[in-house]
Symmetry: D2
Subunit: 305 residues, 4 copies
């Protein structure tokens, strides 16, 4: 397996030359566009890695999976889906158009920025700090790593430049989708996006989802089965922004990408995979990461269909 | 199993009172909104049915699955995806907006009207008649039923009133997505939508897909494995119009609906299911049909995640 | 003339029963929907009035004309039109869609909320208070009334509930259309909308514009001639939200409406007219006010074409 | 005056180097981008011209003014505005988006393609040929030129490549905005766009409108006064596609442009002006033509505000 991973990483390293590192905030632009690393953890607790697996990166939108899990656990699916839809968006992840043109003003799904902001306001906690801590605790538990921390440079940078997200949040407040103090909710949002991780952390998180919500290393149930199914369904349909369908065609497994360059992939009942490659395509997904997963999907027969 | 199906149909018959039968063409409005029938065929060739399983209905958008299969077999995935995307649409199935606003002018996916019209133009055949016959033959083969025919009243009605589809097709021609005579392509489209079937036919088609492209009754490979995976991925992400994500959350299996009231569902490696219930919700999906599949998904553990 | 005004008001009083008073903020909902008043001031300083001419109302979007005048005077037309367009919007006055879908992200025109917010940030002044005072001074001067004041109930109410405007302002900041502190700019915006006036004040403002920028009562030039022409051109094309064209067809003169129920109308080289009637149509324009102006346009041959 | 016109043309000839000749149909691409000509006819029948005033060009969208005049005369304003709006469009002239997203499905105004097609279907005549002849007769009468003819190369080219217009027309038929045979209406539309004229013809047409609907050379009333006012109001608000507001700001007079490079301008009660300069900006308006009119507006005080 490790040999296979090494081969696949090297086969696709050439793709790191395509695309560009996210640069909407200065701190993100410092990421190493040449990096390409992978970590796999299967449901029997075996771990494999290859390439630049030690690269640190901010979790960005991959955190939206954790936020959704917490919102579903804390408030239940009826409440969550009364505030956010479950439909893929053909628009950019920070688009505001559909908020206005849809009669309900509900964000299309929990994995676009608007949807994640709505979910954060649903997570347990009396204020942004408590909400952030709720999701961060879940993340540490699922990653089996208590050392995980926020990258404060990135967080400050996000906070300073996040005016489009601020626009989205105030629009949601105007439409009664979120009820709390907007800056408080946004603070939790920016902090969650800025959590620093490695592919090992993310692969472990994915392995819990792959193992039906139960941690492979402790047999502890971390996510109720139904929540675990819902989250995978939304990863399948909405996980890679407005290129989710293409990924489903090419890889055929639930996944979630982030502009830090990570793609978390779940192979149900088999394994969790995390790839990092910070050079992104126009939709905001790692180019080399997608290529690695495409090749791996064929070689490991990961396609669930 | 048959007992279970009977129970599930009766449990959900009340939902046939909700919604309305499709009425955009007069012939469709004649459908019986109270009907609710189901047919299941598993990959070991066992067949089960319940409710109004003998109800005849026109296949409508379920035919888009067959058209996509033929286009992929006849032209290959590169060519097909150069003319049509693979992303779910948050707009109505006959929306024209995204054709204009996306730079490529490509239809978002093969299961909205624009995408199906583009796929028909890719299917083998020198004209609309040959293209229609190509897809109809595939349908007869996969349904294991040579008696299948077009309902000519519906076809005439579609043809007479199909001006929005005509607008879509001319727009695609103006954008060089389709190259042929528009009326010829549309004629095949209208005829394919008007094919009359029962749930038995559709369940068998689904069983071939569930069985990795091989007919359970003859072990004949009808669909190449990769095409079969692609089709399921697109059913999963785009199969129920702009409610595809919600269905993925509730049922968790690849499916395709039609405004005739049918929902074809594939349980990979296990079975094909067809439900019919002509009363539709706002998105154009059978209300009772969705409810039946939701209950069945829990009872049969159909959710693939 | 006064007889004519009385007759026209009474002829159209029935229209005050149509439509509804603006209610997006509680304070506005208290307006008297039955009121209908008019005041005319010609360029020879004659004044005429009829109906409920003493009704007090908040100026709302009519203030956008004053803001535009100040921005053009303070920064010049090149700078102003580098930040805001001059095209009518077919969308609602608080729509955010076109901000995202237009490549420039510029607000379509200075009379939708986004455009007015952008103009306020251009008005002279180091902060929101100074900017507010700059525009308010111009307003007092053009209305020849130093007693004009902000209605603080309305202002507080606007500020509390103005989340869609907040969303617009943060979007503009994210797109570098406005550079200042968003809350500071919004504070000036909300205060300007909340200035309390009567039709007499507004008719005088209109008479200055009608008299080529020169106050009829003092012969003081208040607005440079070119600015005065630009402002009328934009009133003509964009003055009544997304019903501006219809008003141009029916009345044929530059005008600006506000959700307080006022319509300010300029008859170039002849007179300024203000009508108030708080019952609004779907676009946010006074129904009875429009009817009064339509009749008056025929009787006084106000149509400039 | 002729000296002035010569100077203005030569001052602005440099602008013919900017932009590009319309090329969406091959025949239009043959136009001479360097040409710049002007013709003025005042309401006392004086005529002046300068530059390449003998250039022949196809009338294109300027014909939409004639179509609107005929529709208003033949069916009345209530009927016309029940099928088409009077609001400027911020989208391209051949956009289809707003047809779908507006509840009424009415074209925004008579000067975008959708609106003109709707107006043609309202013009008197039992079929496309009669409708075409009705409008062409009006055009010949207003231009005081019986020799005017269709350019059949352009017409054939329009007809062959006009699929986006075909899409628009079928969409309108699907929405019950037009009731007739689509190809028949389109045939009249394409033929009207292909009428070949010179600036002399167009200046005369404009002079009739400027003279309140009465031909200056014969004192014959050609257009009822109210129709004449409506047409100018729509020229003012919608005459230059999605740059109408900018033109109103810069020139301040009712006008209508066409992709053949012509801009027809009306100076109410004074004169009609036609400029031709086939190099177009992104909105489809003549760049040099706009510059000529801008300079002329200042020198002749044409601005109506």
């Amino acid at each position: 397996m490790e040999k296979l991973l090494n081969a696949v990483v090297e086969n696709n390293r050439i793709w790191t030359k395509q695309g560009t590192v996210a640069s909407y905030i200065p701190e993100l632009a410092k990421a190493n566009g040449d990096a390409l690393g992978i970590h796999v953890m299967d449901v029997e607790c075996n771990e494999f890695y290859a390439g630049d697996f030690e690269t640190k990166f901010t979790i960005q939108s991959v955190s939206k999976v954790l936020t959704l899990i917490c919102a579903l656990i804390d408030k239940g699916k009826e409440k969550v889906f009364s505030k956010v839809g479950a439909e893929a968006s053909a628009d950019s992840f920070n688009s505001i158009v559909k908020l206005e043109t849809r009669n309900s003003h509900k964000p299309l799904n929990p994995f676009i920025n608007a949807g994640a902001i709505a979910c954060i306001s649903l997570v347990a906690g009396d204020n942004g700090i408590e909400k952030f801590e709720r999701v961060q605790e879940m993340l540490k538990k699922m990653a089996n790593n208590q050392e995980i921390q926020v990258n404060y440079q990135v967080y400050q940078s996000e906070k300073l430049t996040g005016n489009t997200n601020r626009a989205i949040a105030y629009y949601l407040k105007g439409a009664n989708i979120i009820e709390r103090d907007v800056e408080d909710v946004l603070d939790a949002y920016f902090k969650l996006c800025s959590i620093e991780v490695t592919v090992k952390d993310i692969a472990r998180i994915a392995s819990v989802i792959a193992n039906e919500g139960v941690a492979p290393w402790s047999n502890e149930r971390m996510i109720p089965k139904e929540v675990n199914q819902i989250v995978q369904a939304i990863m399948m349909t909405c996980g890679l922004y407005n290129a989710s369908g293409e990924f489903a065609v090419k890889v055929g497994a639930p996944a979630k990408s982030g502009v830090g360059g990570c793609i978390m992939t779940v192979v149900p009942k088999r394994m969790g995979i995390a790839v990092v490659g910070p050079s992104l395509d126009e939709s905001g997904n790692s180019i080399a990461g997608t290529k690695v997963l495409e090749e791996l999907s064929k070689k490991l027969e990961m396609n669930i269909f």
